[in-house]
């Protein structure tokens, strides 16, 4: 393993905390990092809050900005980890969290919920858009897995192909729903572009409830995942129960993706770029790479979200921004690597 893993992770964690504090201060109402820390300190440990502080600050920080920022961090981290795991399992550096069609499933579910609302069918609040999106994602996964399981080994090609087939069918379904939505199709399109606007503490809680337990499972299997780089057959002769590892990790990564997509819409490139970049810098050891991806993805999405929230004159959908920034940056890295520049 290269460098000192605990040190690298500690550095990334500190960087993330710094990013959260800075981002919380930025926005229409400018708050200094010192004041952010003071409010947080007051919230956690109590004590006197400075009298000269704007009385709106605690509310803005705790109820408006922090939930959105933490959701962005957890979603970004989750997508990046899911991407790293999919790339490692499918032995394909082009894989991302959406390779198995999770995003299409979520999009289909969300579109369905939105179009029902548009058509005037009343659905209880609990069965709202994120819930439908999550159901759609899980149903898609079930379909993809049952298609791919027929060869008994969950081979990469079968999985990817199953994902493509199911996604293609769902795309047609989404198209049909958009046609039904008629003039109000914009609502669906906007959801599909991804957004973190108006996230609350319950969003933070729900994503954290899925992402962190899945992170633990991923860390548990990280070493086995390294051996899986040899391919399933050889990995088994080195002592890895490759089917069990594959199944557990596919379920974990997919769950993570499903919850992220249902909370925030489809946010591209984070799950592809972050694992790639970190693998270039830190090497492919999943024991370091997976937790590093959490921090990396969190920092990236948090930064992107802060840019659209605080800097741009109008809020651009976050999915568009990540792809706009991520795409060219990825080209640059890819080109550099091809040319062999260190």
């Amino acid at each position: 393993m290269s460098a000192k893993p605990p040190l690298t992770l500690l550095f990334l964690a500190l960087f993330l905390i710094l990013a959260i504090i800075l981002a919380t201060g930025m926005g229409f109402l400018s708050i200094t990092p010192g004041e952010v820390v003071r409010v947080l300190w007051f919230k956690v440990w109590g004590g006197p809050l400075a009298e000269d502080m704007n009385p709106a600050f605690p509310f803005v920080i705790l109820e408006v900005r922090l939930p959105r920022i933490l959701t962005a961090a957890i979603v970004g981290g989750g997508l990046a980890m899911a991407g790293a795991v999919f790339q490692a399992i499918l032995l394909n550096p082009l894989a991302d969290p959406y390779t198995l069609g999770v995003s299409s499933g979520a999009a289909f579910g969300a579109s369905l919920a939105l179009v029902l609302a548009i058509l005037g069918v009343a659905i209880p609040v609990f069965f709202s858009v994120p819930f439908f999106a999550f159901l759609g994602a899980m149903a898609t996964l079930a379909a993809v897995f049952s298609l791919a399981a027929s060869d008994g080994r969950f081979s990469s090609n079968t999985l990817i192909l199953s994902g493509v087939i199911v996604a293609a069918i769902l795309s047609a379904g989404i198209g049909f729903i958009q046609y039904l939505a008629d003039e109000q199709v914009g609502v669906i399109l906007f959801w599909l572009m991804g957004s973190l606007v108006g996230k609350t503490w319950s969003d933070v809680l729900v994503t954290a409830l899925f992402v962190f337990p899945c992170l633990l499972v991923m860390l548990y299997f990280a070493r086995d995942l390294n051996i899986m780089a040899f391919g399933g057959r050889t990995a088994e002769t080195i002592g890895v129960d490759s089917r069990r590892v594959k199944k557990s990790l596919l379920v974990c990564a997919s769950l993570m993706t499903a919850i992220c997509v249902s909370v925030s819409g489809i946010i591209g490139f984070v799950g592809l770029i972050v694992p790639h970049l970190l693998r270039l810098v830190l090497g492919p050891d999943n024991r370091l790479l997976i937790p590093a991806c959490f921090f990396g993805g969190a920092i990236l999405l948090l930064t992107a979200d802060t840019i659209t929230r605080a800097w741009l004159p109008t809020e651009l959908p976050i999915g568009i921004l990540t792809s706009l920034i991520g795409g060219p940056f990825f080209c640059y890295i890819f080109r550099r690597k091809q040319l062999g520049v260190q």
């Binding site: 057959r233 090497g283 492919p284």
Partner: protein, 318 residues
């Protein structure tokens, strides 16, 4: 079969069958493999060699019949337990990620190191030893994705050696290597068998190689066990005609040292001529002296029909 009656078999397969998508790949195989031997597994393409190796490494299970390893059914072992006893060198090395050579070889210690543990001194020593045997110490910090095919294959063999198992299974492990490294690897493996009493089962396409290094050969044909036994008894011109459908006059083209009816190896009349082989330095001392590696002079490309003119030493076939 291949075994003395008083010797406990390492592997015992009774009426082992395997079918893949409805096609019978292996049919009623009865096999006993003794410890401390170098077995060569030969047979035409599609005869079931790889599947038999899959069964012996427990990556597949017999569909009917039984397979015992050290007296216990193969299914009774956990993956880790088995990985401490049997290692595989696959034919192809597909490593999609940029691990370094040292990291890959250390992966061979996976079944010994606890999940969240670190490698011990012994683990490190075995890794060093394996890298030394394969002469890849100088590559230790290189990325495996940057290596040449031959270098990669030596890394894989080193990884399997680091696994420190009683049994080593090779699936045409030297198919992508040049003659120098082929002989080098086979030599190291032969040493494992004859000096450390380990057992090697190697699927080998090159009959010369099998003849030169193996003690026993297992011949498969159409998913059935054609013959097993000592090299000199089994590897005859007749067998090559029967199993591979190659006529005796064509055999001479590829295997000039082969004389009907039986292969002349090993025999006291043959000696190793260092001058006729391209390698001498690293192999010099430990090289078995009874062995004459049969490749000498130009080899005819195997593009020969049954009606080709008889070959006379030079390059033919054009």
């Amino acid at each position: 079969m291949v075994l003395n009656m008083n010797e406990a078999p390492l592997f015992a397969m009774d009426k082992g069958c395997f079918a893949y998508r409805g096609d019978d790949v292996l049919k009623y195989i009865d096999l006993r493999l003794a410890p401390g031997r170098f077995y060569g597994l030969i047979g035409p393409n599609g005869s079931g060699k790889s599947t038999l190796l899959d069964l012996l490494t427990a990556t597949r299970c017999v569909r009917s019949g039984t397979l015992h390893f050290q007296g216990r059914p193969m299914g009774g072992y956990s993956k880790k337990e088995l990985a401490r006893k049997i290692a595989l060198v696959p034919q192809q090395f597909a490593m999609g990620f940029d691990f370094t050579v040292a990291e890959v070889v250390l992966m061979g210690r996976y079944p010994y190191i606890p999940r969240f543990g670190s490698p011990t001194v012994r683990d490190r020593d075995l890794v060093e030893d394996a890298m030394a045997k394969m002469q890849i110490q100088s590559l230790r910090h290189r990325l495996v994705t940057d290596l040449s095919g031959g270098e990669k294959q030596r890394v894989v063999v080193a990884r399997a050696l680091a696994q420190d198992t009683e049994v080593l299974v090779l699936d045409e492990a030297t198919a992508s290597l040049d003659i120098y490294h082929t002989i080098e690897i086979m030599h190291v493996i032969r040493t494992l068998v004859h000096e450390q009493g380990r057992t090697v089962i190697a699927a080998i396409h090159d009959l010369n190689l099998a003849a030169a290094f193996c003690d026993q050969v297992i011949v498969l044909q159409d998913g059935q066990l054609h013959k097993t036994g000592a090299v000199a008894e089994v590897l005859t011109s007749r067998l090559i005609t029967d199993v591979f459908q190659v006529e005796p006059e064509l055999q001479l083209a590829l295997y000039p040292s082969l004389e009907s009816p039986a292969l002349k190896i090993p025999g006291p009349a043959l000696t190793f001529h260092p001058s006729s082989a391209p390698m001498s330095a690293p192999l010099g001392s430990g090289w078995p002296t009874y062995l004459e590696f049969p490749i000498k002079g130009p080899i005819c490309p195997p593009r020969l029909g049954k009606n080709s003119p008889p070959l006379t030493g030079g390059v033919g076939g054009g």
